[in-house]
């Protein structure tokens, strides 16, 4: 199986502190992967590098077939390539309605003149309505995003990600601040999404990861400590030491 994303021995340091140290990571076209690791393991920095927010000091990030490097692209170009990212804190545009938020995220021409000439169609309106009901916000379409509850914002953001139709989805701690029911809903959604695209979930919560039932990558001090099924990695003595202390 050819890899969709191939992270090849990247390193990055901030003021001498090595946040990522010779990290390599692959993910296939339709795969669900959980990335776990203690605080400071480099999970968020890893996402920053893939999405173009941070440039690595060395190494390469290759994307798709034929593989091309993501390092020469900026955030927007990478997003247009099909990398979607959900932030830890829900970031939606509070001053705009749910419909506007979703419309903005819809897959369409992104350059300013294309946007200026863009007119809503029956199809786009239907798509927005579908997305809204998929994330349970059908009743809130006309409300401003800022008026939604925290959980609803999380869902709106997920809806926006779906609207983007990414080939790779990077999800940063999706379960944070969610009720148990919402978590279950989220896991189901992620598993379903992973059938058609690659999904990388960064998470602290072991129960959540267990429910995802997928391959797990453990990061520690900026490099991969262990990789495999959750049961496999939790038996790894290195992982136990890192998580439980010596």
């Amino acid at each position: 199986m050819s890899a969709l994303l191939e992270v090849d021995s990247i390193s990055v340091s901030f003021d001498g502190f090595k946040a990522i140290n010779n990290l390599s990571f692959n993910i296939g076209e339709a795969e669900l992967r959980a990335v776990i690791g203690p605080n400071g393991a480099g999970k968020t920095t890893f996402m920053d590098i893939v999405t173009g927010k941070t440039r690595p000091d060395s190494g390469d990030v290759k994307w798709g077939t034929p593989p091309k490097s993501l390092l020469r692209m900026n955030e927007a170009q990478i997003a247009r390539e099909g990398v979607g990212r959900k932030f830890q804190r829900p970031t939606v545009f509070e001053d705009q309605t749910v419909a506007e938020n979703l419309t903005m995220a819809l897959k369409a021409g992104r350059n300013p003149f294309a946007v200026l000439g863009w007119r809503p169609s029956r199809a786009s309106a239907d798509r927005v309505a579908d997305l809204a009901s998929e994330v349970g916000l059908a009743a809130q379409v006309a409300r401003k995003a800022g008026e939604l509850s925290h959980g609803q914002k999380q869902w709106l953001e997920i809806g926006m990600l779906l609207a983007q139709e990414p080939r790779l989805l990077l999800v940063d701690e999706p379960a944070a601040g969610m009720t148990l029911a919402e978590r279950e809903q989220t896991t189901a959604l992620l598993v379903r999404l992973a059938r058609t695209r690659a999904v990388v979930v960064v998470e602290h919560d072991m129960d959540f990861v267990r429910r995802l039932n997928c391959k797990v990558t453990v990061l520690h001090q900026g490099s991969v400590l262990a990789e495999g099924s959750l049961d496999h990695v939790t038996r790894n003595p290195d992982v136990i030491e890192v998580y439980l202390g010596r």
């Binding site: 001053d95 300013p112 863009w118």
Partner: protein
């Protein structure tokens, strides 16, 4: 979802256009040239200039209220527009005068002699007699009109490209725009920059080819032109900020990083809006200075651009009509108070002379507006239409900075 034409979705456009039309008709009916003469020509000029300032304010609102860039260099484009149209006005008029005086000679002048005479007439005041390269197109009105749009547009494009590309934003960007206008002003202040140094361009109220038309009539014509430009620009601006483009622009204002992760080229959007605003501002300037009659580099000093921001803030930013209200109200009040016509206030022991105290009052009222009415005068309309924004005084609420949910704080 059915789509209505965008004008119907934005009823404020119709209201603004109607008010503008009523205003134009009223002023025309009261003018000396076409009506009762109740309104003197000088007042018609002031009103025409005010419309131009309102036009510049609309452009400022696009950049600041919608895109979130507090540009403190917007008047650079305004003055550039004035300079570029002034070049033609001054050249063509001087050419007429010089041709008339050279016709007295026994030998008819050669084109070179004519040009030399014009250059001497225009640049004698800064001790030069050569026509600078920047005046190469001054003889042609169509070319110079093209430059009115092209030069400020290209300047905005170049400056914006440099600034946005390196992701300078917030206060830094404001300071940088201020630096831009200051640099331009200082350059124009030099005698050898080719724009007559601090003398500026003058006599712009005389339109070449229209010598037979008196100023009373001309002033009304310019008033009409200004009103028309304002109406067109208002509709254009309203169209741009409505729909998906407006949505993206406001999103950039609120969180440009997030917009990037949606795949939008943020810099491109900023450039489009910044350049468009610069060109609108330049048109405003090109209409303003023939009514003012004179332009000099002092018009580009940073303070002028800050005043523009003040008008938009007082009027209410993020609302296009707010910008117009602010510009009209504050600039008319300013000229009334500083014109010496406002009655002094006699306090025991001290007389408040408004010429001296207006600036103080303006400064203080500006602070008060920023503190207590951040939405400006347009906020009143919001209130009337029942939109009650939460009063958070800028403080954080809930998990997100700037969340709109007031009740979260009460829990």
């Amino acid at each position: 979802m059915t789509r209505q034409p965008f004008i119907l979705r934005n009823p404020s456009i119709l209201v603004v256009l109607a008010l503008l039309a009523v205003f134009t008709v009223t002023v025309t009916a009261l003018s000396q040239a076409y009506g009762s003469g109740t309104v003197p020509t000088s007042t018609v000029k002031v009103l025409g200039k005010t419309l131009c300032l309102a036009l510049a304010a609309v452009a400022m609102d696009l950049v600041w209220g919608y895109l979130g860039i507090l540009s403190l260099g917007q008047m650079a484009f305004f003055a550039l527009g004035g300079y570029l149209i002034g070049q033609w006005l001054m050249y063509a008029r001087t050419e007429g005068i010089v041709a008339a005086s050279l016709a007295q000679n026994p030998i008819p002048p050669t084109p070179a002699e004519l040009q030399e005479g014009v250059a001497n007439q225009i640049f004698g005041v800064v001790g030069s007699s050569d026509l600078p390269l920047a005046w190469s197109f001054a003889h042609s009105l169509p070319l110079q009109l093209l430059l009115v749009l092209a030069v400020p547009g290209l300047l905005a494009l170049a400056f914006g490209w440099l600034a946005f590309r390196s992701r300078v934003n917030g206060v830094y960007l404001s300071i940088l725009t201020q630096a831009m206008t200051l640099a331009l002003a200082l350059w124009l202040f030099q005698n050898d920059s080719g724009f007559r140094g601090n003398n500026g361009l003058s006599g712009l109220q005389n339109i070449p080819g229209l010598e037979a038309v008196d100023q009373a009539t001309l002033s009304v014509w310019f008033f009409w032109a200004s009103a028309l430009a304002l109406a067109l620009a208002y509709v254009l601006a309203a169209w741009v900020v409505s729909g998906k483009f407006g949505s993206v622009v406001r999103a950039i204002r609120d969180d440009e990083t997030r917009v990037r992760f949606l795949g939008y080229p943020v810099e491109g959007f900023k450039l489009v809006v910044f350049t468009l605003a610069a060109m609108i501002t330049a048109i405003a300037g090109a209409l303003y200075y023939p009514q003012a009659g004179i332009i000099n580099p002092a018009e580009l000093m940073p303070i002028a651009s800050i005043y523009l921001a003040v008008w938009v803030a007082i009027g209410g930013r993020g609302r296009l009509y707010g910008a117009i209200i602010g510009a009209v109200v504050v600039s008319l009040l300013s000229s009334w108070f500083t014109g010496g016509r406002a009655p002094s206030i006699h306090l025991p022991g001290y007389t408040v002379n408004w010429v001296d105290w207006w600036q103080v009052a303006l400064g203080i009222s500006f602070v008060l507006v920023t503190l207590f009415a951040p939405k400006g005068i347009a906020g009143i309309f919001d209130r009337l239409s029942g939109i009650l924004p939460p009063q958070r005084h800028g403080r954080d609420l809930g998990p997100d900075q700037g969340a709109l949910q007031e009740q979260e704080a009460k829990a």
